[in-house]
Assembly symmetry: C2
Homo-oligomer: 132 residues x 2
């Protein structure tokens, strides 16, 4: 059922199904905060202010937007406790947890290779300066 791994192409056209699927997921995990939030929720539920403090540099607006997006995608649940002051907890769904593995794969790759990437960038930039 799954279009098998290697051939992303068939003739000259992309597989529309897998491409759109990947594209959609990528635009979510590619945004500035989603992955961070998912990783923070990986080890248990957290409330809004905890997330905000943990990330530190996120605006209230963007955190709300991010959480709404994740909730809409079925990756997190939102639980309101109507006390005073109100309390809202966010928790990864099973689907959300299942995303952690693949994301960690990227994260580990990034950690293992960022030095090489930065070296490549410096080398590239140096070559550019020579040209100029």
């Amino acid at each position: 059922m799954k279009p098998e791994n290697k051939p992303v192409t068939e003739g000259d056209k992309l597989f529309p199904c897998s491409c759109q699927a990947v594209g959609g997921v990528l635009s979510r995990i590619g945004d500035k905060w989603s992955v961070l939030v998912v990783m923070l929720l990986a080890d248990g539920p957290k409330r809004f202010s905890e997330l905000k403090r943990a990330i530190g540099t996120v605006s209230q607006r963007m955190l709300t937007l991010t959480l709404r997006g994740l909730e809409r995608d079925g990756l997190v649940t939102r639980t309101v406790t109507p006390s005073i002051p109100p309390r809202v907890d966010y928790e990864l769904t099973e689907l959300g947890h299942s995303l952690c593995g693949p994301v960690r794969g990227i994260g580990d790759w990034a950690f293992d290779n960022h030095a090489r990437i930065e070296a490549a960038q410096r080398a590239f930039d140096a070559r550019q300066e020579d040209a100029a």
Copy 2:
């Protein structure tokens, strides 16, 4: 050396090192075309026009920009054959190939779960309409 997997946090602060690393990589693979290009190059070198046709909806400008970025990061090599008309081939480096595994992890997850995501979105949107 690698900050071990589960605790993304320590006290209340994020690990700066792994976060920046992941963030940098994510902003690359999170952009609209990089992953697509990497996957297309996974099974062998391709020339500029092949990539352009394969993707179809990418502008010439963005494909050039994407390829430059990947080249700068050391993920692809650019080989110019100064013929008339000129010919330029792009190929994944070893580093580029090593990224394919993790990316495929995300891709497989996306493929396996996009139906559930879309269902969750529809359910969420339906709930919103009720509120209105």
